[in-house]
């Protein structure tokens, strides 16, 4: 990153910070080959990045939240937001050694132990879980995916994300364990939101991750945020209900100061 810094020597203090932050965002977008218009939101860690999506996502009872069994706890935790808004949970089942059985799945709002009995249930390719639970047109639905399991180390196929996107899902990729070991090309494999953790990639600094948002997703999700603080808003009516979110998408999601 240092190689890419072209700093005017007169830039100091806050302007230096801003310039360096912009450079860091550009470096992240470049590293993951994100399509033009993508946004980097810096977070405390990958879990916080996942939570940003989970807490803001407009789950509805009319569309399922799909996620893999073999996923990080921080992905599983999003189901609490889905449940609160009445969205049914659908799990992608896992083979014995981990990963995702893409063609199989079952609707789940029942305890995990009950899932085991359904593991052998087979669904034809034309009726994959994703097709079966595709949301009605215009209805928001979330499809979460863990790129590399921290439990089994398996790497389920990423093209599943494109399939889910085709069927109307908003896609969320937990790449915390995937990014340190595998090149990720977001132009070749488009994902609406990707959560990463930097210390897992290169060890330092700890305490910082990012949410990489595809073009358009950030502006849409920004208006759904359940909360505001610090620099995430530009106008707040007091007393009242009017809140003007920060125009810059990254600022609308990053709580600082």
């Amino acid at each position: 990153m240092a190689d890419d810094l072209i700093l005017n020597h007169s830039i100091r203090s806050s302007k230096l910070s801003a310039a360096l932050t912009a450079t860091a965002r550009a470096a992240v977008l470049s590293f993951f080959n994100a399509p033009p218009g993508s946004t980097v939101v810096f977070t405390a860690n990958a879990s916080a990045a996942l939570k940003l999506v989970g807490e803001a996502f407009p789950f509805t009872p009319r569309a399922a939240f799909i996620l893999p069994e073999d996923a990080h706890n921080s992905v599983h935790g999003i189901r609490e937001f889905a449940k609160a808004k009445g969205a049914p949970l659908v799990y992608l089942s896992s083979p014995p050694r981990g990963g995702v059985r893409v063609r199989e799945a079952f609707v789940s709002d029942i305890p995990f132990t009950a899932h085991i009995a359904h593991l052998d249930a087979h669904i034809p390719a034309s009726q994959t879980l994703i097709d079966k639970h595709a949301p009605p047109a215009g209805t928001p639905a979330l499809f979460a995916y863990t790129g590399q399991s921290n439990i089994t180390n398996s790497k389920p196929p990423l093209p599943v994300l494109a399939h889910a996107s085709d069927r109307g899902f908003t896609t969320l990729l937990d790449a915390a364990a995937l990014a340190p070991t595998t090149p990720i090309d977001l132009t070749h494999t488009p994902v609406d939101a990707v959560a990463i953790s930097f210390y897992k990639m290169f060890g330092f600094p700890t305490g910082i991750g990012a949410l990489v948002l595809a073009p358009g997703i950030g502006a849409w999700l920004r208006e759904k945020r359940p909360w505001f603080a610090g620099g995430t808003v530009e106008v707040v009516q007091v007393p009242g209900t009017v809140v003007g979110r920060a125009a810059a998408i990254d600022e609308a999601f990053e709580v600082s100061v």
């Binding site: 240092a2 203090s13 912009a22 810059a248």
Partner: protein, 210 residues
């Protein structure tokens, strides 16, 4: 505006010194074999000092210097190489102070073996080279060996860091570069100024800083 640290005097230079020795090494650089990762000398010859040759091309550069030395007595070979451009050196001991028979290739042992300074080490090098000859697949990891030697010297030679959960060890240069940066920089809150205006001024090459 508590984070505005500007002074009336000339602005402090805050720059990343890319020529510093603290600059992080990328794999790309390692492929070109930096000095510290120079392959081991051949076991039998080695008249080229490792510390005095800045690059692989130094061999040919030395020949040019020798050819052009005006104090040197004329030699038969001058007739064979009358022009300024470099010609392949002839195997004459008078002309060539260095042995050029050795072919320098990126060695898979660069990260594993210390510089051979004793007969004992040379013997262990030879043993390792024989091992690689018998098991050539072990040479494919020389990039990792080089990284370990340059960035992870804090790992003991008999220590292996195995990670399964996604927690990388930081390279030493990342820490030193960042420490240097923090000690020489004055960083303020980005919200003290409009970052958008800063970016636009950067992009247009205009300076809005007073």
């Amino acid at each position: 505006m508590g984070s505005n640290h500007s002074r009336p005097t000339a602005p402090t230079v805050v720059a990343i010194d890319t020529s510093s020795a603290l600059r992080p090494r990328s794999l790309k650089r390692l492929k070109s074999a930096p000095h510290s990762l120079r392959p081991l000398r051949p076991l039998e010859s080695a008249s080229v000092s490792r510390s005095s040759s800045p690059s692989y091309n130094s061999l040919s550069e030395k020949h040019v210097v020798v050819e052009r030395d005006p104090s040197r007595k004329p030699h038969l070979c001058d007739c064979l190489a009358p022009h300024d451009y470099w010609q392949p050196p002839l195997p004459t001991k008078t002309l060539l102070p260095v042995t050029v028979s050795a072919i320098y290739l990126p060695s898979p042992t660069a990260g594993l073996l210390p510089t051979p300074t004793s007969t004992q080490r040379t013997q262990s090098d030879a043993a390792y080279l024989r091992f690689l000859h018998d098991y050539p697949q072990y040479s494919s990891s020389w990039h990792v060996d080089a990284l370990r030697r340059s960035e992870y010297t804090r790992l003991a030679s008999d220590e292996t860091y195995v990670d399964y959960m996604g927690g990388a060890l930081y390279p030493a240069s990342l820490i030193s570069v960042h420490a240097e940066f923090l000690q020489s920089s004055v960083l303020g809150n980005t919200h003290s100024e409009s970052s958008r205006s800063v970016l636009s001024s950067l992009g247009c090459g205009r300076r809005s800083d007073p």
